[in-house]
């Protein structure tokens, strides 16, 4: 579905991605982990061509996207929904208007139909009472849920999540994780999640890829990921108190 072929990207003279290759399959929840500055968000931005690679190619549904014209790019982007790290809601619009924005811009639906669809998504994300509120009146978790409602309003095939649980308390973080899993189960959406949070990655991921200094150091199913012999992966696991003998080993071995 999404394939990176020998992607290299340098920013400010520093190589952020160094000839990386990987593929995300349909229906997967593909999680990208790594330390700050490892190139996770840069990888995500290449998938929707918010950034272009210095070399290599990004392929989505069989077609390269790094050289597309504006109208073709628009078609490719219509397959994606994106939940940004900061939720990226337009501050002068209400929650309802934020979620309705893509429908108003890209469809000829009447206001009644828009209200019905927005209402459905808000209900799915437990936001039914928040429609008239402005983003500034919402908590961080609610803003992320509104961002997610906007990301899925056009029924995309793929949803990208950039640090969906950063800055949230553990309870809200687990709720967001549940929502990501629901997206896959109920709507069949392919998800790509960028996160620091390994507990979250192990809970939701069907595959976990770790980036370190612009290179892929591991790309495996969660049960294999925690057994990785790579010292960077091991140290990353240990930094979040995840051990082979701990609860993850038991839980993942049942899957």
């Amino acid at each position: 579905m999404i394939r990176f072929e020998n992607i290299t990207k340098a920013l400010g003279g520093k190589t952020v991605l160094d000839r990386i290759n990987f593929e995300v399959g349909a229906g997967e929840t593909f999680v990208i982990v790594g330390l700050s500055g490892a190139g996770k968000s840069v990888t995500l931005k290449h998938m929707i061509r918010l950034m272009r690679p210095d070399s290599g190619s990004v392929v989505v549904d069989g077609g390269r996207i790094d050289h597309l014209g504006r109208s073709e790019l628009r078609q490719v982007r219509s397959k994606f929904g994106v939940l940004f790290q900061s939720a990226a809601l337009l501050q002068w619009m209400t929650v309802f208007d934020n979620v309705a924005l893509p429908l108003r811009e890209h469809t000829k639906m009447g206001e009644q139909e828009i209200a019905r669809l927005v209402g459905e998504k808000l209900e799915l994300l437990n936001l039914s009472d928040a429609g008239d509120k402005f983003p500034a009146d919402l908590s961080g978790g609610m803003q992320k849920r509104v961002g997610l409602a906007r990301a899925i309003i056009m029924n995309p095939k793929i949803v990208l999540y950039d640090e969906p649980t950063s800055g949230l308390d553990p309870v809200t973080s687990r709720r967001i994780d549940d929502l990501i899993m629901d997206m896959r189960k109920e709507l069949g959406i392919t998800s790509v999640v960028v996160t620091h949070d390994l507990h979250s990655a192990l809970s939701i991921g069907s595959r976990i890829m770790m980036l370190h200094r612009g290179k892929i150091v591991e790309n495996a199913a969660p049960s294999e990921f925690i057994r990785s012999k790579d010292p960077t992966v091991q140290s990353f696991l240990e930094s979040q108190y995840i051990t082979k003998k701990g609860k993850w080993e038991t839980e993942l071995s049942h899957e």
Binding site: K45, S78, A88, L90
Partner: protein, 262 residues
Amino acid sequence: MRYPARSARRVGGKVLQVLHNTGHALFMLLEATAFVRFLFTKRSRAETAMQMYVTGIKSLVVISVVALFTGMILALQTGLELRRYGQEVYIGSAVAVSMIREMGPFMTGLIIAASVGSAIAAQLGTMTVSEEIAALEVMSINPNRFLVMPRLVALAVMMPILTVYTNILGILGGAVVGATQLGVSVQSYMDNATKFATNKDLYVGLFKAVVFGIVIATVACHQGFMTTEGAVGVGKATRRAVILSFLIILVLGYMITRLFYI
């Protein structure tokens, strides 16, 4: 690398960056102008009306004060000089011509650049660093249509209207000073004011106002979109937007005057 070569490379890099930024700003302006055809869609109409309100109504108080005192200062300074030759009756024409040709559009441009231009740069800068602009792009909503075009139209339309308002208040301010400080009756002040100011003065002044409006919108939006480095970057973008607008207004003001009067 030797020092001269390093310096030359640094200067060359800066020049290239300025050219790149200018090209980027002009492309943004052209694209936003091309999107004016969408002005009468429901959403664009509402956004443009809001921007016109922000530009026009919200700046009215400060423009009124500045316009009034500009006219009063012009009348007082010119009047005191003319009085030495017993010609103070001509302050009406001096104030009217100065206001209509130069001071009206210039002062309005500076105030709008400082108040509205800075607000636009800060808003779009904040949207850029909080990924709202990226979100629009991902939703295939062109920021030049959604954000730049309404601001461009609002400023291009409101600037000449505000300039006429500035001119009127400036001339009235001059009349008050003439009547109270220089012994020139309002009647003879107005007679003089209308006698020497021509239609050409008015048209050139209004043309300047439209150009200044376009400059302010373009510079402010472009600086907003170029913002990096979070809150600090927003501050820098806002400062750059105001300074650049001031400089371009000054230079273009001179060039337009030269074009039409020499």
